[in-house]
């Protein structure tokens, strides 16, 4: 119940109700985007964005830049380990 599923917003199905279509494991589903639409923003700007889906709602936008940053950090940690076998850590 607390595990979210990352999914990419494909289309907006109802702009006024802030509903959009995502694809999760090959299945298309309508989800509610209200929590990731800032007031003024139109949901159409979310098409192509990655969101985390919980019980029918997109609860967070996945920040791609932050995801890259974490992966870079992880890779650095890993490389450092491979090179120095931990001597410098």
């Amino acid at each position: 119940m607390c595990l979210g599923i990352p999914a990419q917003v494909k289309t907006i199905s109802n702009e006024a109700a802030k509903l959009g279509i995502v694809e999760i494991a090959g299945v298309r589903r309508e989800i509610n985007l209200a929590c990731v639409c800032k007031d003024a923003q139109s949901p159409t700007e979310l098409v192509g964005c990655w969101v985390l889906v919980h019980v029918g709602f997109a609860m967070a936008l996945i920040d791609e830049a932050e995801a890259e940053l974490t992966l870079t950090l992880l890779n650095e940690l890993g490389e450092l380990q491979a090179e120095t076998q931990g001597a410098r850590l």
Partner: protein, 384 residues
């Protein structure tokens, strides 16, 4: 619910955080760090993963077997299904068997054993019980069945709370008058506070609940390092997320600098999700106290509907006693929930209690500690 995905979709943010080669390197780093830490302290670090989602990932990827001996994971009470008191299930059974009533909830909740049976067993006997994926599906059921009362059995932490709140807001805005909610929502914040204040608290760090924090933010947990001196790292759910978060906690110990850190920055922001928080505040208020299975009453840990939503509140429409039904004495769910016993040390584990025939709720949900142990083949602890 699982995060399994075999299509292009989802792969991007799942596979990259599951890279086995990188995981091995991180584990080596962690082993090195722990070697250094062992020069400062003898006792293992006891780290609580608060969220059942973390418990599930830890076992699914076998991390429990790969961690250094000086790291001991304590499974927290963060599976909302597992802490449901039996009395609540019996309340729901009463709702489900009322005339012209449909009871809807998530699949896991419907499999929890009550005093005599689960809600799914009641369905087999003719009660109208429906599995839904979202509270919105329950609201749609109400729209499709105007001649019936649809009761959504709502449960979960801050993660599912906004969904219930938003569904209720929609129901009110569109004047759906045959939709009720039985709120058994609980808050993880109050729970962590209760854990920290319990006299036998001996934790050395928290893997913070990433998806609850996605809603409530990280700042609300600043008191953990500042008042209690215990590291708190908000963690994602993929294996690399968990390994990195443990590394961060060990580092804080090495530097003797307990802090609030956020490993899951791709999803969690300092102040959470404003839209979700606003919906929660508008719809819910805190109960003085709420009874948890195995843990007893925890102050201010439960949420009920505000007076403005009374027309949608199942507690006002049904006579729900909040009756207390103790667990059978041979179940050791309480000890497991408190971290005193490991699931594999419970007398019933894997012989009388299995996911097919659960005796306790911890065996029901895939996020429950007992189900995680069982599904990933942890044998019964013979010496217990």
């Amino acid at each position: 619910m699982s995060t399994i995905s075999n299509t292009e979709e989802g792969l991007r943010y799942l596979d990259e955080f599951r890279d086995p080669a990188l995981a091995r390197q991180l584990l080596e780093t962690l082993h090195d760090q722990c070697d250094r830490l062992s020069q400062q302290r003898q006792k293992p670090l006891q780290i609580m993963e608060v969220c059942g989602g973390h418990t599930h990932s830890i076992f699914r990827y076998g991390l429990h077997d790969l961690l250094p001996d000086s790291i001991e994971l304590v499974h927290g009470p963060g599976c909302p299904v597992c802490v449901l008191p039996k009395g609540v299930i019996d309340d729901c059974l009463r709702i489900a068997t009322a005339p012209d009533t449909i009871l809807a909830s998530f699949g896991d909740a419907l499999r929890v054993p009550g005093a005599k049976k689960s809600l799914l067993q009641a369905r087999a006997e003719g009660a109208d019980v429906r599995v839904v994926y979202s509270p919105l599906d329950a609201l749609n059921l109400a729209r499709q069945h105007p001649d019936k009362t649809v009761v959504f059995f709502a449960l979960g932490f801050e993660t599912t709370l906004p969904a219930t709140a938003l569904a209720l807001q929609q129901a009110r805005a569109s004047s759906v008058d045959n939709f009720l909610v039985y709120s058994n929502h609980i808050t993880i914040l109050a729970t962590i506070r209760a854990i920290l204040q319990s006299p036998d608290m001996r934790l050395d760090g928290f893997l913070g609940p990433g998806h609850a924090c996605m809603i409530i933010g990280t700042e609300v947990f600043r008191f953990v390092p500042e008042r209690f001196g215990i590291p708190f790292v908000v963690a994602g759910f993929e294996p690399l997320d968990i390994l990195q978060s443990i590394t961060m906690i060990v580092n804080q110990h090495l530097n003797r600098a307990p802090a609030l850190e956020n490993q899951y920055t791709r999803v969690v922001r300092d102040h959470g999700n404003a839209v979700a928080l606003q919906a929660i505040t508008e719809v819910f208020e805190v109960r003085e106290s709420f009874e948890w299975r195995g843990l007893g009453a925890i102050d201010q840990s439960g949420l009920r509907l505000r007076a403005a939503y009374r027309a949608f509140d199942a507690e006002h429409c049904f006579d729900l006693g909040q009756q207390k039904i103790p667990d059978p004495s041979h179940c050791q769910c309480g000890e497991v929930l408190k971290g005193v016993l490991k699931p594999s040390q419970c007398k019933l584990y894997s012989n009388q209690c299995t996911p097919e025939q659960p005796q306790g709720a911890l065996m029901v949900s895939s996020e429950g500690a007992c189900a995680a142990y069982y599904n990933y083949g942890v044998p019964r602890d013979q010496c217990a």
